[in-house]
Amino acid sequence: MGYGDVQMIDEKGNRVDGRKAGDLRPIEIELGVVPVADGSASVRWGTNYVIASIYGPMEAHPRKIQRQERAVLDVRYNMAPFSTTDRFRPGFNRRSREISKVTAEALESVVLLELYPRSKIRIEIEVICAEAGTRCVGLTAASLALADAGIPMTDMVVSVASGKINDVVVCDLNKEEDNYGEADLPMGILPNSGELVFLQMDGDLSPEQFQEAWDYNMDAATKIHLMMKEAIANKYGGES
């Protein structure tokens, strides 16, 4: 039994929302949703709804943040006050600061920053509706928006989290599983090379469970990458 004796997976392996252990929530991707931005993307992932928009490259202000040899990524992750059932207090807080930082660091691994010395690329991630795994959805949406803005990158970034509920490792936790589960392993993956650009872990996983969660995330990244390509091909009418 899990935390608080909440049973979240039955003997047949069905989760509270009917998914099997390795299943993802439904994902819908759309590009170019913010006309005034240089690039944008929205991702509906289960009940999560996140919009990412890109502005720039532009002159970095204040000047103290400029780097002479490369651009800086200015990431702002924000949850709308109405994105959760309890009103979310607006403004920057410790959590959003942390997520903005790890998202910027993950994206810095793929964006060719050296092509834009002294400039800044502004990435706005707005969580409209939050269920669970908004940092993963935000990172994935930001990667799509960067591609839409024509920012050169070596690869896309796909982010997904697996975790443990009732001592069973499952892929892509929903809200109940995230709240009452025993562990959570969000990862940012480069789908073409399988390299990792972001990893966090909350809770305890044995080495075997860690490997299982890792494998789930890698498989999910492949599926999401194909969805990304499909969404881009639908938008721009090509065979990707």
């Binding site: 240089d38 690039g39 720039g56 490259p57 532009m58 002159e59 002479q68 793929v110 060719l112 834009y116 010395p117 002294r118 400039s119 960067l146 591609a147 839409d148 803005a149 024509g150 920012i151 050169p152 990158m153 070596t154 690869d155 896309m156 993956i189 480069l190 789908p191 073409n192 090379s193 399988g194 390299e195 990792l196 490997q211 890792w214 494998d215 890698m218 498989d219 990244a221 492949t222 990458h225 990304m228 390509k229 881009i232 091909a233 721009y236 009418g237 090509g238 065979e239 990707s240």
Partner: protein
């Protein structure tokens, strides 16, 4: 930790197909690389979202969106954003403002009188003179036709469509000029100056809006021709 299970790996893509960053275009055989591609682990991969182009042995990706980056010699339309005693700062729509030194202005300007000559918000037609390695650019207004723009209006098209508008057998720009009877100047930064009769200006604005919406489709030139015919009631 095993890294297996990641994606189907990099599979090659044919010229003309749509690629996203990270997609493998082909194995690196020592050919020339153009825009939007790079070598990585023995392969040539796309770094931008766009279509693969292979021309004369050079592989590149024509991006669907891209920011304008000034190049020496570019004819551009800029807005004055600020000034000091002897220079103006010009917004070219690029990541960085360009500078226009007093010595490269088209008129005689006294030291400290830059604001009197050209104030903030003035539109100018200028040419990019030089760029340094940190992307700082200098523009000049000394040259044939370079001037303050006092009439007409300025619209925009995405910078990556500029070459498409002015190339080919029947350039879209010529079609627009013929259909609208307007004077049109297309800046390399995607800004378009239009001056003429109100009816002609309306036609140009309408067509530029059509180009912005359909810029990434095939046969843009013939589509624009059809659009102009429909607009003229033919």
């Amino acid at each position: 930790m095993s890294s297996s299970g990641a994606s189907d790996g990099r599979t090659s893509a044919a010229p003309g197909s749509l690629v996203i960053p990270g997609d493998k275009i082909c194995t690196d055989s020592g050919g020339q690389l153009g825009h939007g591609v790079m070598k990585l682990d023995g392969s040539i991969i796309a770094t931008k979202l766009g279509y693969i182009v292979e021309k004369g042995g050079e592989i590149s990706v024509t991006p669907l969106h891209t920011a304008y980056f000034p190049r020496p010699g570019d004819l551009v339309l800029g807005y004055i954003e600020g000034m000091r005693a002897n220079i103006w700062f010009i917004d070219l729509g690029a990541p960085f403002n360009a500078i226009l030194p007093m010595s490269l202005a088209p008129m005689k300007v006294e030291f400290g009188a830059t604001r009197d000559a050209m104030n903030v918000g003035t539109t100018i037609l200028c040419r990019v003179q030089e760029i340094d390695e940190s992307h700082s650019s200098v523009v000049t207004m000394k040259g044939m036709g370079l001037r303050k723009v006092n009439s007409g209006f300025v619209d925009t098209v995405p910078p990556h469509l500029v070459s498409l508008l002015s190339s080919g057998n029947n350039p879209i720009l010529s079609q627009l000029k013929d259909a609208s009877n307007c004077r049109i100047i297309l800046g390399a930064n995607g800004r378009v100056w239009v001056d003429g009769e109100p009816e002609g200006i309306r036609t140009v604005r309408d067509t530029l809006s059509f180009i912005r919406d359909n810029g990434d489709s095939d046969n843009l030139s013939s589509k624009v021709a059809d659009h102009l015919k429909q607009g003229n009631g033919e």
